[in-house]
C-alpha cells in the first residue's frame, strides 16, 4: 500500500485548508472542511446545488475569506499562480474586444502564449470578437487565458456547464492533458457526476456544506453517503470519457520517479499527505 499514496506524498501541497467554514446571514454555507490541494492532482468537488462547492473553490483561490478555520498557501517565492475559469462569464456587447486581446489581459507572458493557444486549440478564434463565441469556445478561451500564467493551480468552476456531451469529454481530456504536461494541481467544481468522476484523482462529495465522503472515484461511488445522494447507478463506468486511471504522475515526463499504478485504492484519504511542507 505504499504506491500512489507515497507518490502523492512527495508532491508539494499548494494549499492547505483546515477546518474551514463560511457563514452568510446566519446560515452555514461550509462547515469544518479539511483539504489539501496537491500539485499534479485533479480534485473534483461534487454535490447538489447549494452544497458549498463553489464556496469552497472561492476560498481556495482567495476570492473570499473563511469565517472559521484556516487557509494556508504553501508556496515559496511569491504568490501562488492561479488560473481560474469562472462559472459565469457574461460577455458585454458594449465592449468591443477581440479574443486575442482578451486572453492577453492575463499579463506579460510572451513565452507561454503559443503553448496556451495551441493546448486549447483557440488559434482560429483569436481575431474574432469575444462576443461572437459559442459557449464551448468561450470555455476554451477562458482556459487559454488561465494557462497563460503557467498556473500552479487550475481552478475550474463548472467548466462543462452548457456544453454538449462530446465537448464535455474533450474538455476533460484536455484538463487531464494539461495536468500531465504542467504538473499543476487542478480543482474542478461540478455536478456533472459520471463524466467528472472518471476524470478525477480525488473526489470530494459535499452535502450542505460538509464533506459527505471523499476519496478516489471508484471508492467514492461505493460509499453509502454518495449513493444516498446520487443513487448507485452513476459512476465512472457510465462516463463518456475516462482517463486511464493509472497514477497520473507516471504520465508526466518530469515526474519519472513515480512509477505507481494502484493510485485509486490507495489515496482514499488526503490526510496521508505530506505534512512537512513550507507553510506560510
Amino acid at each position: 500500500m505504499v504506491t500512489a499514496a507515497a507518490a502523492l506524498r512527495s508532491e508539494p501541497v499548494l494549499i492547505r485548508a483546515t477546518g474551514v467554514g463560511v457563514e452568510y446571514g446566519g446560515r452555514a454555507l461550509l462547515n469544518g472542511v479539511d483539504l489539501d490541494v496537491v500539485a499534479g492532482r485533479i480534485t473534483t468537488f461534487v454535490g447538489n446545488n447549494g452544497a458549498g462547492k463553489s464556496t469552497l473553490l472561492r476560498l481556495l483561490i482567495g476570492l473570499s475569506e473563511p469565517s472559521a478555520g484556516r487557509i494556508e498557501r504553501c508556496v515559496s517565492g511569491g504568490r501562488l499562480r492561479i488560473g481560474y475559469v469562472p462559472q459565469h462569464f457574461a460577455v458585454d456587447t458594449n465592449l468591443p474586444i477581440s479574443v486575442r486581446r482578451f486572453i492577453a489581459l492575463a499579463g506579460k507572458v510572451r513565452q507561454q502564449w503559443a503553448e496556451a493557444i495551441a493546448a486549447t486549440g483557440v488559434e482560429s478564434l483569436l481575431s474574432q470578437p469575444l462576443q461572437s463565441l459559442s459557449g464551448g469556445e468561450l470555455r476554451r478561451v477562458l482556459l487559454a487565458r488561465a494557462l497563460l500564467r503557467r498556473p500552479q493551480l487550475l481552478a475550474l468552476d463548472e467548466p462543462a456547464a452548457g456544453l454538449d456531451v462530446r465537448s464535455q469529454g474533450a474538455l476533460y481530456r484536455l484538463i487531464g492533458e494539461l495536468r500531465d504536461r504542467y504538473g499543476c494541481a487542478v480543482v474542478v467544481v461540478s455536478h456533472d457526476l459520471n463524466l467528472v468522476m472518471a476524470a478525477s484523482d480525488e473526489v470530494l462529495c459535499l452535502e450542505q456544506g460538509r464533506v459527505a465522503c471523499r476519496g478516489a472515484p471508484h471508492s467514492v461511488v461505493e460509499h453509502p453517503e454518495y449513493q444516498k445522494l446520487f443513487g448507485a447507478h452513476l459512476g465512472p463506468e457510465t462516463a463518456v470519457f475516462s482517463h486511464a486511471h493509472t497514477d497520473p504522475h507516471t504520465q508526466s515526463s518530469d515526474l519519472e520517479d513515480h512509477k505507481h499504478h494502484k493510485h485509486h485504492e490507495d489515496h482514499e484519504d488526503h490526510e496521508h499527505c505530506e505534512r512537512d511542507v513550507d507553510l506560510r
Binding site: 482567495g62 476570492l63 504568490r79 492561479i82 468591443p96 486581446r101 489581459l105 499579463g107 462576443q131 461572437s132
Partner: protein, 270 residues
C-alpha cells in the same frame, strides 16, 4: 456668415478639451454600466457649489471634494452592504441635488446663476477656466492611461482579474476619482444635469465603429468634438442655450449612427 469671435473660440477650445477627456472615460462608464452612477456624482456637484460658497473656497474645489467623497461613499456602500445599486443611487442623486438647492437658498446675499450650474454656461469660459480644463484633463488622461489595462480586466470580469493579481479596490477608487474630477471639469460647459450625457452619448455612438476598446475611446473623442462644434454653431446661429445644444447635437449623431449601423454593429459579427 459665421464669425468666430474670442468668446466662441474659448468655448470651442473648452468644449473640445472636455470631449478629449470624456471620450475615454465615458467609454468605461458605458462598459461598466455606470451612467446612473455618473449622474449621481454630477447631481452631488450642486452640494459642492453650496459648500464652496459656504466656505468661501474655489467652487471647482468644492465640487471635487463633494464628488470624490460621494464616489468613495458609493463604492464602500456597495462593497459592504450589497445594496441594490440603483435604489441607493436614486436616493443619493436626488437628495444631494435637493440638498444643494436648499443649502444655496439658505445663503443670504449669495446670488447664484442656478441655470448656469444646471445646464452649463460655456460662453462664460475664460482663460483660467481653460487652464483648469486642460490641466485637470491631462491629469485624468494620464491616470486613466496608467490604470487602463487593470481597469479593462476588472470591467470584463472582476473576480478573474483579482485571481490574476489585479488590486481591484485601488483601481476602482482611482477610476471614481477620475469621474469626480471630470464632472468638476464639465460643470461649466454642460452643467450638472447634462454632464453624464457628454460621457455616455459620444461613447455609445462610437461603439458602432469600434473593434477594440482603444478605438472606441478615440472615436468617442471625435464624436464629442463633432457634437461640441455642431452644438456651438447651432447655438450661435439660432440663439440656443449652448450646453443643451451640444447634447442635442451628440444625440442626433448617435441617432444617425444607430440608424445607419445598428446599435452594436461590431457585436453582430459572428
Amino acid at each position: 456668415m459665421l464669425i468666430f469671435d474670442e468668446l466662441m473660440l474659448f468655448a470651442l477650445v473648452a468644449g473640445c478639451g472636455l470631449a478629449l477627456v470624456a471620450g475615454p472615460l465615458g467609454s468605461f462608464v458605458v462598459w461598466r454600466r455606470m451612467a446612473y452612477f455618473g449622474d449621481t456624482l454630477a447631481h452631488s456637484a450642486l452640494l459642492g457649489i453650496a459648500l464652496g460658497f459656504l466656505l468661501g473656497i474655489d467652487l471647482n474645489l468644492g465640487i471635487l471634494v463633494v464628488c470624490a467623497t460621494m464616489a468613495v461613499l458609493l463604492v464602500t456602500l456597495r462593497r459592504r452592504q450589497r445594496l441594490a445599486s440603483d435604489t441607493v443611487l436614486g436616493i443619493l442623486a436626488h437628495s444631494s441635488l435637493s440638498l444643494g438647492m436648499v443649502a444655496i437658498a439658505f445663503m443670504e446675499g449669495v446670488r447664484v446663476d442656478l441655470m448656469g450650474y444646471l445646464f452649463g454656461d460655456i460662453l462664460a469660459v475664460g482663460v483660467s477656466d481653460l487652464y483648469w480644463i486642460y490641466g485637470g484633463g491631462a491629469v485624468v488622461l494620464a491616470v486613466l492611461a496608467a490604470i487602463w489595462r487593470p481597469l479593462l480586466a476588472i470591467t470584463l470580469h472582476e473576480e478573474l482579474a483579482r485571481v490574476e493579481g489585479v488590486r481591484v479596490l485601488p483601481v476602482q477608487l482611482a477610476f471614481m476619482g477620475l469621474m469626480a474630477l471630470t464632472i468638476a471639469l464639465a460643470m461649466q460647459i454642460v452643467g450638472i444635469l447634462l454632464v453624464t450625457s457628454m460621457l455616455i452619448i459620444p461613447a455609445a455612438a462610437a461603439r458602432a465603429f469600434a473593434q477594440t476598446p482603444e478605438q472606441m475611446a478615440v472615436i468617442a473623442v471625435l464624436c464629442g468634438w463633432l457634437a461640441v462644434l455642431a452644438g456651438l454653431l447651432a447655438s450661435f446661429q439660432w440663439d440656443l442655450p449652448t450646453g443643451p445644444a451640444i447634447v442635442v447635437a451628440a444625440t442626433l449623431l448617435f441617432a444617425v449612427v444607430t440608424l445607419l449601423r445598428g446599435p452594436v454593429a461590431g457585436a453582430a459579427v459572428r
